[in-house]
């Protein structure tokens, strides 16, 4: 079980959980018609390093003039949280037309998932006072979000922040997943 922080501060923090975050799949313009396709993720967690977010916030919103924009971020990395029950059945992306792998809940694969022994996933159980069902971060589905867009969501869509230590655990596992080496069979 993770520990969380409920207090909402102005800046984006590593470990922040937001709800209803939009991911733009594409924007296409043809013959005067513009088409935008987006996916609404019910929950995402911020993975960008907290020091980077702190420096970006200071540079972006401080009234003090800076000599350069060296610390400015272009975007924030996030990863979706899926309902663990949907992950087991492989149906968590069914509403966007994708069928995922079945993970047997009561057998070894399900236990490995809950013990965070599957590099791709991070299983989270929230404290009793946080009414979020057991959830799974899918590191393979990370995406970037405009940081000003995310900041505007803070007021209405912020849920909670994963406390230090627990968020570092997530961050380290994410980094390990990204840096894995694929060897030939």
């Amino acid at each position: 079980m993770v520990r969380i922080r409920k207090q909402k501060i102005n800046r984006i923090r590593q470990g922040d959980i937001f709800r209803e975050v939009e991911y733009i799949e594409y924007v296409n313009e043809s013959k005067g018609i513009i088409e935008v396709s987006k996916i609404i993720f019910p929950y995402v967690i911020v993975l960008t390093q907290d020091c980077d977010l702190q420096q970006d916030y200071t540079l972006r919103w401080s009234k003090r003039q800076r000599q350069n924009h060296d610390k400015l971020l272009l975007s924030t990395l996030v990863a979706p949280l899926y309902n663990a029950e949907h992950i087991y059945t492989g149906e968590h992306l069914s509403e966007i037309g994708l069928k995922m792998q079945f993970i047997s809940k009561n057998k070894t694969p399900g236990k490995n998932l809950r013990n965070n022994m599957m590099p791709r996933y991070h299983y989270i159980e929230f404290p009793d006072d946080v009414p979020i069902v057991p959830s799974v971060i899918d590191f393979k589905h990370y995406f970037s979000v405009n940081i000003e867009y995310l900041k505007k969501l803070k007021k209405e869509k912020f849920v909670c922040n994963i406390a230090p230590l627990y968020r570092e655990d997530i961050s380290q596992r994410f980094a390990a997943f990204l840096s894995r080496i694929g060897l030939p069979d």
């Binding site: 799949e25 513009i34 987006k38 019910p42 309902n83």
Partner: protein, 59 residues
């Protein structure tokens, strides 16, 4: 709140002013019949496609 309400799969904008990408406001939520549940039950991701006319020039 009707928890069964979801986003419709497609919305065709009738007015190009519906889409404003210059501001970071949520560009189109007119097709939302109901917001996501507030009980923190995690539902599934949903796709929305928006179409609108492009107009030249500026206001």
């Amino acid at each position: 709140m009707n928890k069964n309400k979801t986003f419709s799969s497609e919305y065709i904008a009738t007015d190009s002013t519906d889409i404003d990408t210059n501001e970071y406001k949520e560009i189109e939520h007119l097709n939302v019949e109901e917001e996501f549940d507030k009980n923190y039950e995690i539902s599934k991701p949903k796709r929305i496609i928006i179409r609108g006319k492009v107009i030249d020039g500026k206001d």
